[in-house]
Amino acid sequence: MTPVGLPHILFLSSCLFFIGMYGFFTRRNLITILMSLELMLNSVNINFVAFNKYLYPQNLSGIFFTIFIITIAAAEAAVAIAIIINLFRSSNSIDVIDAKEMKH
């Protein structure tokens, strides 16, 4: 067996990404869709860090991208949950099937 290197970590992150994508497709509850989205964002972070560590160790760009992605994910989760709570207040359900107020 070859020692663990960049391809192993990239394979792990792509598995995590497609698990998140599967959850994104199958779930119908908005909060669980948000959870799948977090899984996908995490897999992207792992990718950035692994490329930075193994291919470009002379600079820190991947680490900075990861830090900024984590920040933006926190902001995105806060706004999404505000929207979800507002939706629950108006239609008493957070199922995507019931969210049809903006349908024309």
């Binding site: 599967y22 497709f25 995490n42 972070n45 820190l60 994910a73 989760a77 709570i85």
Partner: protein, 173 residues
């Protein structure tokens, strides 16, 4: 196989197993707890890569912030003991098929490509280095994105308050 490699496989199994449980369990509160375990696993992977600061950020922001926010929103909107409605079988099958095909294609590309590796240099990810580079306005510095992100956080703060605010009745205003 070295000791360090065994640790990597353990962490990978842990992350993928808990992530699979998080997308498959039908109780929403359990899904959020499985997500928490998975995010802790990602923090463990950062520790494995010798990136202590990133692991600390991951634990503080994801595990301490986002998952707690998700759990609060579950308590505000759901009966957390109830099972969620089952997804239609055709939808499950086609989603699994799409994900597996995507994964197969991606791993095919991944394992055919040979990455050149730059092992003679060590990544210097100490907190001093990260902090100095983040606030450096010159070449290779990240001061502009730092300021942009701070504006984004302010906008998200104001925006989420405005969205979640209760609308007053016209008579009371």
């Amino acid at each position: 196989m070295e000791f360090k490699d065994i640790f990597f496989y353990l962490i990978a199994l842990y992350i993928l197993g808990t992530a699979l449980m998080a997308v498959n369990t039908r109780k929403i509160f359990r899904a959020s707890i499985w997500l928490l375990f998975s995010l802790i696993g990602v923090a463990a992977l950062y520790f494995w890569l010798n990136l202590e600061f990133l692991a600390a950020v991951q634990v503080a922001v994801y595990v301490g912030g986002i998952v707690v926010l998700i759990i609060f929103s579950i308590f505000l909107t759901q009966k957390s003991g109830n099972q969620m409605a089952k997804t239609e079988t055709t939808q499950t099958v086609f989603s699994a098929l799409a994900s597996l095909l995507g994964l197969a294609f991606l791993s095919l590309v991944l394992f055919q490509h040979s990455f050149g590796s730059d092992q003679n240099q060590e990544l210097n990810a100490s907190i001093e280095n990260i902090g100095a580079q983040m606030l450096n306005p010159g070449e290779g510095g990240f001061l502009l994105p730092f300021e942009a992100v701070s504006m984004l956080l302010l906008a998200a703060l104001v925006g989420s308050i405005v969205i979640a605010m209760k609308v007053k009745n016209k008579e009371n205003a």
